[in-house]
Symmetry: C2
Subunit: 250 residues, 2 copies
């Protein structure tokens, strides 16, 4: 007999349907639910979570909206979303190379760009004086047609004048650097945090409120150790996992 699980909390400030949606999304990712591509019927899910069928339906509707599930009247509900992509973080971290082989249709769009004065953290990371001119790029990356990450990058405006135009054309940081005579660069440091997605990222990454983003704050340096890029990237946490090899494997 299927016993009701006591994992859903009431009065928590998070609606039951959202808790159920979050849980189903995770279990689908682990193939613990809908592993054969087919979800259990709504009535079975409702019994399992100890809620009304309508509450489960609201959760399913949210996952359909996200593209994780697809519901067909009379047939059932099916899994649409794929597994999490592995994003390797290593000395030579390159966005497109990292995801190559796992997905098709990799693309990076330039949403916005500006030349501005470096704030304290940007200046420190790039070894510039505060207020020095920097170029800021706002980019959005897709894999298999699904948005995967949203990044904000800064570059020294003197050394990389025209970076935005180069990126708009090549759609790749690595290729853009090459146009500036920078053939190779290294990942100097990466800081990883996680938080709830903000309104803008919810929209760009097509997430639903309450969704989680993995945030990496990274510094890339040239082969002489000079910083060339400072960036903050928000990854949709249910589509990506970060892989950090040990040093001997790098």
């Amino acid at each position: 007999m299927q016993v009701k699980e006591a994992v859903i909390e009431r009065r928590s400030g998070v609606a039951l349907w959202r808790q159920i949606a979050d849980r189903m999304r995770r279990e689908i990712g682990e193939a613990a639910l809908g592993g054969d591509g087919r979800m259990p019927p709504e009535t079975a899910l409702a019994e399992r979570f100890g809620v009304n069928r309508h509450t489960v339906r609201t959760a399913i509707a949210a996952l359909v909206q996200e593209g994780v599930l697809r519901a067909e009247q009379g047939r059932g509900t099916f899994v649409e979303g794929r597994k999490r992509l592995a994003y390797p973080i290593r000395s030579r971290t390159r966005f497109s190379e990292g995801l190559a082989g796992q997905s098709r249709g990799l693309a990076a769009d330039l949403l916005d760009h500006a030349t501005e004065k470096a704030a304290a953290d940007v200046a420190k990371a790039l070894h510039l004086s505060p207020g020095a001119p920097v170029i800021r790029l706002e980019t959005l990356s897709h894999a298999d047609g699904r948005p995967v990450s949203r990044a904000r990058s800064w570059f020294d405006a003197e050394r990389f004048a025209g970076m935005a135009e180069a990126f708009a054309q090549t759609r790749s940081i690595t290729a853009s650097f090459r146009e500036f005579g920078l053939a190779d660069y290294l990942r100097h440091s990466t800081v990883v945090t996680a938080r709830h997605a903000e309104a803008g990222d919810l929209k760009d990454l097509r997430l639903s409120p309450g969704a989680i983003v993995l945030v990496t704050t990274a510094i890339n340096v040239d082969t002489r150790g000079k910083p060339v890029q400072y960036s903050e990237t928000r990854f949709a946490a249910d589509r990506i996992e970060l892989h950090i090899p040990g040093s001997e494997a790098q």
Copy 2:
């Protein structure tokens, strides 16, 4: 004039007070709010978030409960919680060494342990046959009196017979390994994901529903490259950030 920010979403399945609590927790962590140790008055916060004062009060009550804030009638509301601790992930990753210097009162408790048959993923990670006996430790780590991480580790039961007892006494993986003649070990790989905390972790890590955990799945190996530990650690995402140095710094 302070203009209302449109960052709080209604009908999202996440109560406004919880969205506001999550946002304030983050801004406090970044010192963007209460940087001087003192929070703006409730009326000002209510206006800023475009909600009723009572809604802000509910959010503050949740953060008081978490130990992030302290409210004093007539005086104001003050920041109690500290900054996020930096947890370095490098070749020689050691829990207590990593946090040493940033906090006092580091402690690890053994919540539970068992000898069991290795599941497929555990066997693969430890280079054992599926079903081989392994020791599983369930541990909880504190820093400055606040729970920081909840880990589940597996060890080869043959090589490390008595691991649970060693850990219970030394309260350290590194020290326990030493008792088995293992003076040094290396981090072979780390996978980082993020998700909503589950019921058990909410309780152990003293989080409120909707909170985020950073999950690292790691393999440690001895100096000959043989796996000695496989572990999954859940970090409270608002108390910890993972630091990954570039390979040249390792």
